[in-house]
């Protein structure tokens, strides 16, 4: 039982917020009840996170997927109206080449590793795009803890109060510079993937034409299908790049800029300006 209790304590300490940990600390109960309560708290936290991920991140991703699907459907529709065969777009080989190029032939591991972070940032982008974000933040700082969403701000301000203003300013400036560097790298990575998608379509086009040259003794229908497939490869890369990846890059850029501005407004508040007022001024600029 003691091992199970220790594991439950670790789980709660890892997942739960400070006030939830305090609640669990406060209730005096048997080991079995503690274990039951700790398990229920962990499950409830996971349930809440899952619900938020579905309702917030899901909406963002669904919008991008829907936009891409509509673009593809539109092209297929025009092709069909013009009398062409939609089947010509079913080219697994070309799609494979483009996807491989997108992942980056030389740095696939690093690129794949950063995508979970980017998707997490996109999930936050949805929360931050709400128009009342700054107002709620300002209200939080004024009323001290009115929303758990911004509880980390109180921590930053508390640390800043205990530190000399010049030092706090220096530390925060360093943090902002580091954040800007990292965010630039992430946006650059997505933009590079967009360029790779274009390059991939060019490679796929060439491969498709080479593939066609090997079938010149076939009927005109077969050759026409192969040439059509090779030409369509360029379209795949453009769709992936422009309809899916470029919107992600621009959204990330806006999100990181917004976060950097917030941090900068906090840094200003160390110099004596009230943080709530700083946020309101920022909100006015932003809107």
């Amino acid at each position: 039982m003691s091992a199970a209790l220790a594991a439950a304590r670790k789980c709660v300490a890892w997942l739960a917020s400070e006030d939830e940990l305090g609640d669990l600390e406060e209730i005096s109960c048997s080991d079995a009840t503690y274990l039951r309560e700790a398990t229920a708290i962990c499950l409830s936290i996971l349930q809440r996170r899952l619900r938020r991920a579905i309702t917030q991140g899901g909406v963002e991703m669904a919008r991008i997927i829907l936009w891409a699907a509509l673009s593809v459907a539109g092209v297929f529709l025009f092709l069909s109206l013009g009398g062409g065969s939609a089947l010509v777009y079913v080219q697994p080989f070309e799609w494979g080449v483009i996807l491989a190029a997108m992942l980056g032939f030389a740095a696939a591991g690093r690129r794949l590793g950063v995508w979970p972070v980017i998707l997490g940032d996109l999930r936050r982008a949805h929360r931050m795009s709400r128009s009342d974000w700054f107002k709620r933040r300002a209200a939080y700082l004024r009323e001290a803890g009115s929303s758990p969403d911004f509880s980390h701000l109180a921590g930053i301000l508390a640390i800043a109060k205990q530190t000399a203003p010049a030092k706090a300013d220096r530390l925060m400036s360093g943090g902002i510079a580091l954040f800007r560097d990292k965010s630039r790298q992430r946006v650059a990575l997505v933009e590079q993937t967009v360029r790779d998608a274009y390059a991939g379509s060019f490679i796929a086009l060439n491969f498709g034409l080479i593939h066609t040259l090997g079938h010149l003794d076939e009927s005109a229908e077969v050759i026409g299908h192969l040439v059509g497939g090779a030409l369509c490869a360029s379209f795949f890369g453009v769709i992936l790049g422009r309809a899916v990846l470029a919107p992600i890059a621009s959204q990330l850029e806006a999100l990181y800029e917004q976060q950097a501005r917030e941090m900068d407004s906090l840094r200003l508040s160390f110099g004596g300006e009230a943080p709530a007022e700083t946020f309101e001024a920022l909100a006015a600029c932003w809107s």
């Binding site: 406060e26 409830s44 009115s146 758990p148």
Partner: protein, 105 residues
């Protein structure tokens, strides 16, 4: 809004300034004569918070909680209005119903 959400809102209203996790769970269990875990209480509180029916703030840290602060809850204006409508609707629905020996007639 389900039964549990409505019950939690009523308990938060009844507890007033002292409505935090453990107190809400204890009062809810006492009034409904049913055991609720802290996890279930948090999930409901979180859902109500997301719907902007409740607001919360952190209190001062206390030694019996290992130096950790309590998160207090209170109803927002939207929450009060909704709860008021629900209570009125329930009163309307039950005004002609009477209990005799614990049985509805």
């Amino acid at each position: 809004m389900g039964f549990l959400e409505e019950s939690v809102m009523l308990v938060v209203l009844a507890l007033g300034e002292g409505a935090y996790g453990v107190a809400i769970r204890d009062e809810l269990s006492r009034r409904t004569r049913k055991d609720y875990s802290l996890g279930a209480t948090y999930t409901t509180l979180d859902r109500l918070h997301d719907k902007e029916l409740l607001t919360s703030w952190l209190g001062d840290p206390s030694p019996e909680r290992g130096g950790r602060a309590k998160r207090f809850f209170k109803l927002t204006d939207k929450g009060r209005k909704l709860l008021d409508e629900r209570i009125r609707a329930r009163q309307e629905l039950t005004q002609d119903v009477t209990l005799k020996g614990g049985v509805l007639i």
